[in-house]
Amino acid sequence: MPGSSSKSGGRGPSSSPLPHAVVPSSRPLRPSRYVPVSAAAFFLVGSTTLFFCFTCPWLSERFSVAVPIYNGIIFLFVLANFCMATFMDPGIFPRAEEDEDKEDDFRAPLYKTVEIRGIQVRMKWCSTCRFYRPPRCSHCSVCDNCVEDFDHHCPWVNNCIGRRNYRYFFLFLLSLTAHIMAVFGFGLLFILYHRQNIDRLHAIVTLAVMCVAGLFFIPVAGLTGFHIVLVARGRTTNEQVTGKFRGGVNPFTSGCWKNVSHVLCSSQAPRYLGRKKCAQSVSLQPPFLRPQLTEAQLAAKILDNGIQGDLHRSKSSLEMMESQSCDAEPPPPPKPELRYPGITRGNTEECSLLNKAPPTPTMYKYRPTYSPGKNHTALTHAYANQLSRGESVGSARDSSSSTSSLLQASQQPGFRSQPSLDRRETSSERVGGGGGGERREVGREGGGGGGGIPGYSLGGRSYPSFSDPTVLSGVASRSSSSTHTSAGTVHISEATTASASFKSLANQTPPPHHPSRNGSLSYDSLLAGGDEFDKGVGVSSAAPDVSGGRPCTPAAGGGYSSPFLSSQQREAEMQSQSSQSPHHHHRSSHHHHPFLHHSSSSTSSSPPPPPERERLLGEPHLPVAPAGQTSSAPPPSHHHHHHHHHHHSHHHHHHSSSSSSTSRPPRFAAPHAAPHHAYPYRTRSTDTPLGSSSTTHPPRSPHPPPLGKSLSYSSAAAAEMQYRLVRKASASAGANAAGVGGGGGGGGGMGGGGIQVPKDELMQMKSLSRINGGQPFSSTSTSSCSAPSSPSHPVNASAPPRVACPSPALMRSPAHKPQGSGVKKVTGVGGTTYEISV
């Protein structure tokens, strides 16, 4: 049935290789959902049949045969529209593929503003579907899908009403009103002519049908009138009940006539789900044409032995970064792809594209973490640049992407030279040979689970609940990359839960083999991750910093609900920075250290907080990158071995401090810091609160994320604060929004919203529809209407063409405003309120 497929289609991507495949819904069968639609169908068909059988014969004889024909046509129309409204896909958006949200930093704001005909409209990040909801799109909680031009969820047809089937729903209402009027009218005519023998069966049945018709007429007619007004105004039920345009202008209206013709006369909108994918056969044969092809570049690439090529690539990426800075706004951090244009991420893409899109669970998203083994030199340059620009989020993202690409690169045997060999040796020493090889195979599954680098996934910064070191160490080491990835993902998701306001939280895509969407998944992945995860934890913690926001994205895989928790955690952590950080690092298993050490040393160029790693690893023999080292060239790890000892004690809270300052020079984490030693690792970071937040960000991460981590953490902290503000506003506005929704429904004499039991009064239908429509998005509308993120986000989101831009704003805002600073509410156009922190 199209209807059932449409209901479950939105969840297709979660468990099938093709994002648009329709898979059976994993939801438990809820018979209560079918009660209103069954009752509606029963009354409709039953009453009309009785009318045709008992009333119409006499009418056709007495008056004209046109009477039953007319009624028959109208009834057919009612049925057709009812079926279309019930079974037609309302315009469900397929879940976004994993690669799509990589473009947005995990700390990207919850809202993105676009200007529609001069009016600012906010697009909210949908954590389930993993994209910014297009204007007028809303996520239906009943169907668990984002629906285009969402009107409401109608229990009487048991379907969402959206762009594709609004016309049929509207016509259904019109035709049903006409039908009820006709049935009632002709029944009345019958009764009037049969007053004498009213006790005949025909008269009794006609009376019964008239009663039913009369009973349903008032709510149906009311709802029809309501929708006629909506169509004329160019609004959806959702917008009407949430009062979006109460005080302002509706940017979606084009005049009454155009609105009506758009609803009734526009071509049927296409289905997004369940389309058959035409396999494109395209010949992609390198070398590729380039617009300004330089022979020198080509020659260099052909001749290089891998290292030079990488350097060249990184340099060119840096050049690109430079050119980007010519843009008006502050140079956004280079996109990961840009940073390493030549670096292959083929495995990742392949895995992500060819395999099913990762399940939608918002809790888990594996973000590729910084790969210390590969091209750390190049990374250093890039990260140093980024740091100097003070761009945390973007750089984080880039670094993570570059990390992943590096990881990919290092995975290819012989593709890279020295660094990867070192890394591989190291890992094999520490981890055990088997895992290393497999880890190398790891593609970008699960969002680039750090390539083959064990435990690279940001898992290192996962949340306390998940990063139990005993669990981690206890897990049987499984060299499957997927497990590793998933483990990393779990951690990452935990870590990112803290940044509630960021879509990265909702953004997380668990590794492909993680179908579930709840916290338990993390445990499974933890168990599965085993050694990989453990090892990766250390490394990944180093990596995240490098990539700034990036690593945190996977870590921030926490679902949409977890942010609340994480934000609280982060707050607490921020306050008890020093005391907590050691605890967090405790979790990291000891065997992370050796690996971390190497990775950190290799990535010494990036400013990962070595102190964190030191603290966590607590293995003095591990080579330690000199703390506070800002040079981009990472010296061989083993050379710095002795240095770490000295810096050991000072680097305890390095991660926290490092994270806070975006301009922090790269640090080398001393990987073997004893986990339970609290080192006064205060580093250059000047922004303690941010640092603490970042510190707490991966409460359990055994290793301070390299380079990017500080940046990412500061962004995370900023996001955290913003999110808290948003939440506070939401909480306060929640009552208002609920009131709005309730008020709208109340007008119809409504009962409880969402009550599936059909009531006699069809008024219920109206109110229920409204409430149901309102309720699924009441929470979102609440937040959207009354608790927008700080203005810096919308401003930055809309102004710069790149999504990365909000991150600088994000970075700036926390620095500028103290925690819990005053917030001024400003009502914007269209009834949306903005909170401006003063």
Partner: protein
């Protein structure tokens, strides 16, 4: 050798470096339009003009699909009269234009984007939210 491989086969040989997403342009409402802004990732892969031309062509085609013209009106009336059974046999106007768009994208890929190591993905596969451009790595140059 310039053989035609399926996309998946090609992935074995060419690695995907990055993906660029061209977002929707909502400045004129919810009409399906894509931003013509040239993304920086493609700076050294394709001409700006070429890219903008492609996106503009796509935008025009989508505008044509959503046009409230006589064809869509007649289609709606016919559907009403036949109790929507006409949808079982006839293709809607929008679907026809979508087919045209798919052909156009395929042609653009073959002629312009694939030789440059890029690949356009039909936005309908993403719910008409983004145009996905996959950037492939120049493996041959790195070996």
């Amino acid at each position: 050798m310039a053989e035609t491989h399926s996309l998946q086969d090609m992935r074995q040989q060419t690695a995907i470096t990055a993906k660029v997403f061209i977002q929707r342009d909502y400045s004129s409402g919810t009409m399906c339009q894509f931003q013509t802004k040239f993304p920086s990732e493609l700076e050294n892969r394709i001409d700006k003009q070429q890219f903008e031309e492609t996106v503009r062509a796509l935008n025009n085609m989508y505008a044509e699909a959503e046009k409230l013209g006589s064809q869509s009106y007649i289609e709606g009336c016919l559907a009403c009269l036949t109790a929507y059974t006409v949808f079982l046999c006839m293709e809607t106007h929008y679907e026809k234009v979508l087919k045209k768009i798919a052909k156009y994208i395929q042609e653009q890929n073959d002629k312009i984007y694939a030789p440059r190591g890029l690949l356009l993905t039909d936005p309908i596969e993403r719910g008409l939210r983004v145009v996905e451009i996959t950037i492939f790595e120049d493996r041959s140059l790195t070996r």
